[in-house]
């Protein structure tokens, strides 16, 4: 649920990076945090609630501010979920109030089942929150394209983007920063368009 503060001319939106364990969700946020071109005061700390072995336990959180809408200070709150299957309750908590989703898929052949299961888990968790994935801006990111065992993009599209309405998808190597900002800009763009269309519809 985005927050619109008319008094302070501020809009806050929540984007969640979802996907199976070790697919590169945290790496995406780390790259954005380290490389985003912005004023220091517009970028918050990257908070990681991780285990001692650097696996996400609860979530990673990165707040960034941008002048995305004229006259409105827009605050983007980027979250990741823990990918490991056992942390499903935690994933449901992080999804609360989500405005846009980036699904990060691992391109390696042997990770396809985990990708598909994680996507199904996303749909199920949204349903438990009385939300429908078809109504939420979604971008797919096919990460780890640089690995020799990466499956062809067409195959990944067939597995993960095979619906009536296809969503934008990007190949990426998050550890090298490739595809990270393209993904982020697409989800913010979809989210803001969606937000404005909704507002226009409600105002009409």
């Amino acid at each position: 649920m985005a927050i619109i503060n008319q008094a302070t001319k501020e809009l806050q939106v929540k984007i969640v990076f979802y996907g199976p364990a070790m697919c590169g969700k945290t790496t995406n946020l780390e790259h954005i945090h380290g490389n985003v071109q912005t004023l220091q005061e517009h970028k918050g700390k990257l908070v990681s609630l991780a285990t001692s072995s650097d696996r996400t336990l609860f979530f990673d959180f990165l707040p960034i501010q941008a002048m995305a809408i004229k006259g409105f200070r827009t605050k983007f709150q980027l979250y990741t979920v823990p990918g490991q299957v056992i942390y499903n309750t935690t994933r449901q908590l992080v999804l609360r109030g989500v405005d846009g989703i980036v699904f990060v898929a691992d391109s390696q052949y042997d990770k396809m089942q985990e990708n598909v299961e994680s996507f199904a888990n996303l749909e199920e968790n949204l349903r438990s929150l009385k939300q429908n994935l078809a109504e939420i801006p979604l971008v797919l990111q096919y990460n780890k394209r640089d690995l020799p065992s990466a499956a062809p993009l067409e195959y990944m599209e067939f597995l993960l983007n095979n619906r009536d309405v296809q969503v934008p998808s990007f190949p990426a190597c998050a550890n090298k920063g490739e595809g990270v900002f393209e993904t982020l800009n697409m989800i913010t763009r979809m989210l803001l368009h969606r937000f404005i269309n909704e507002t226009s519809r409600k105002a009409a």
Binding site: I4, N5, V36, Q37, A66, G71, F72, Q77, F181, A203
Partner: protein, 160 residues
Amino acid sequence: MYTLPQLIEEDLHTLDGAMRELVQKSESTAALLIDKGGFLITQQGSTDSFDGTTVAALGAGSFCANKEIANLIGEEGFASVYQQGDKQSLLVVNVDEHCLLCVIFKSQTGVGAVKYYASDAVKEIAAQLKRAGERSPGAGFDLSVLNIADTDEIFRSKTA
């Protein structure tokens, strides 16, 4: 996509007033109104020494996680989380279905006093949020200020 409540000047005036009164009466350091999704809505008191945005995200996560634990052990009436510190303590109280009130206070202040004053603030805040939610969603929203023509590259990489 549910985007309400839209807060206007009147809402912020009431919310800030209730929180300012809570901070003064309970001699707390700061009070933050946060959405359960992790958004900071507004804050009052001495907020320079910490990052309110991050406190809001973690406070909401902490409250929701504890509520889940309470549900798992069969506890239904779950209204607040209290974190006792050496210097500063923290109380997160449920306001309504969507919001929480987070109070940061010196540890020598009794949590009972903070809870007492927070309960009055919670009622006032919940009533104002209800009014905001019931207001016409498009009211006062000037679409002419919305210009997203340049969203292609909202975020740029330093190395690009």
